[in-house]
Symmetry: D3
């Protein structure tokens, strides 16, 4: 029962649908197990820091 947690920026439902479908396809293929759970976590840019700086304070996404 592999579980995939994805932390990324907010995305719309159509992208979530695609993300879940494709990540699941990969996991099913690699693990050979059909029961895959995917949890999408949407992080506002002020809650993520990269190399010491908030995403919200950066010029471009990373």
């Amino acid at each position: 029962m592999p579980t995939i947690m994805v932390d990324g920026p907010p995305i719309d439902v159509e992208r979530k649908r695609r993300l879940v479908k494709k990540l699941t396809d990969v996991a099913v293929e690699v693990y050979g197990i059909p029961h895959i759970v995917v949890l999408i976590r949407e992080n506002p840019p002020e809650n993520v820091g990269v190399e010491g700086q908030l995403i919200a304070d950066r010029k471009k996404p990373v």
Copy 2:
């Protein structure tokens, strides 16, 4: 200092209270340690995928 993270659908505060109380009782009994932290994460149905499909797109909860 065992820590329990629970990812589930949104629930009301009375259920959270019961969830925290009961999960803690179990952990105290099994680990023999009284200091238990429980974190409840509420995931909207469009952020969870089961077997490649968003919960939001399913007919019944899983």
Copy 3:
């Protein structure tokens, strides 16, 4: 498909069996969903810090 992750000290398989059974019973009762996944993470005492000190350096477990 609620998922429960438990971070605690190493335990034997009999305790794991009991932990999984009882945590699942609680989650099924509170969420009303039968499909519960539990992941047990065993953390050596040198990998856990409480109030700034490694568990491995403490006199008694917390």
Copy 4:
């Protein structure tokens, strides 16, 4: 900087390589961000419970 955590059974390094490559391709495509981190967690069957039962106690993987 999306981060993907995958909890599954132990797998060999060739499967890990494929898993990282393919999950990253999906995330890059959906998020449009090239900097993806993947963490693979390998869980022994006695540390995972599905519907109240340890994987180690089941007849077939789930």
Copy 5:
């Protein structure tokens, strides 16, 4: 590429900025690796339980 996830109460953006900066400095110093990602998770007091009780039900923060 160390990743730090912090679960705490909600805080304002100035504290997030300081948290990310300082946690990153520590990780860079200890690991000797400059590429650190920090994820801040803000948990409402009704989603956190300590010793069996919701933070929301306590008199003072813990």
Copy 6:
């Protein structure tokens, strides 16, 4: 009761001690709460992928 989870490469116990002490100091200062738990997760280089490639397959750490 803030909780900090750190995913990084394996490190020796002296570095873990320093990591726990310093991360806790930062969290106490920012949150104003003394009860901080730190969990250190050590990831072998074949279990971490950066931009689609296993750390184990890279020339230098990232």
